[in-house]
Subunit: 217 residues, 2 copies
Amino acid sequence: MTTIAIVGGTGHHGRALARRFASAGLAVIVGSRDPQRARAAVAAWPARGSIDVADNVTAVEHSDVIVLAVPFASVDVVLTDLHAHLRGDSVMIDVTVPVTFTGGKMAMAEPAEGSAAEHIRSRLPDRVHLAAAFKTLPAHLLEAAGEPLDCDEFVCADSETARRRAIALVELLPGVRPVDIGPLSGARFIEHATALAIAINRRHKVDAARFRVVGLA
Amino acid sequence: MTTIAIVGGTGHHGRALARRFASAGLAVIVGSRDPQRARAAVAAWPARGSIDVADNVTAVEHSDVIVLAVPFASVDVVLTDLHAHLRGDSVMIDVTVPVTFTGGKMAMAEPAEGSAAEHIRSRLPDRVHLAAAFKTLPAHLLEAAGEPLDCDEFVCADSETARRRAIALVELLPGVRPVDIGPLSGARFIEHATALAIAINRRHKVDAARFRVVGLA
């Protein structure tokens, strides 16, 4: 069975993915900087599949795939903690979105590397395989088990290993089609697509705007 | 009858819009820096509706709506030429995409203002009403009259006048739903969505990737 660590697994986005992956039959380890609080949080979730809790380092060391779901502002600290514990065959899926809300106004964090994914790449050991995915799916829709997702989810990577893993994970979600968009540098387009969806939500007072690509057989 | 000037109307994108708007019953003036060559080009188009040709200044002075369809690299020069000729009630629709291709590699131009639309805004007299639209529709699909478009097209503006005009123009295209995404600053999200569509085209060897928003009634 694939074991997947969700680093930042008690946040909104991480929690939603943890529950979806556990429902799909993966062994999930929710990683947290505060495992005691995380254990209490996870205990309150509706029971479904295999979900364990650990500190981030333990979660990463015992997993086949690592999902990085911490707030973008915490990325540097968390990666510094994890750095020595990432193996040569580690596969990481970055799901972060560098969007901030200040006084109700949305803004992109604009990392110097061009995207959150490329920022993360620059802080990982070379040997780690990185893909970006799950950036545009609305978290609260992900969390509503049973709600039809009915959309596409964009994946990009420079590593073929990570790309394949990310695509396989997207395929676990019912009604979601993975759309590979090429190299990791495309993450900047994906992250802006998330901001586009948020802008649409705000403008139209809806809460789950997402995308289907037309013109792709 | 609404008269629409397409500044840069002999380029791929401008030409496609000119023909669609003429088909829809608008009076179109193709604006060009070289009206003589433009006249020869337009004469070769399949005849359909009312399409006139003029230099950019004349086109702008005789129109109700101005579509700015020049390459992003030409924006500054063209706007300098037009500056004195824009009236207080002028409505401009920016359709430019700040994407460049160097040695086959796609890159965003990254204007300091955050988007091509905001760059253009900063170079227009305050009195001009500006909206951004028609940035994600694939030009060659637009040009293929009869081809179903079947997608959404994003609109943003700070001016309500320009927003309404842009939405009405999008509604002229069969199978296209206008999606208002809010203020002009959202143009950066739209322009990255165009780059996302281009990345998908390249990765999947297709040529008309475009978007539908799911979750919007």
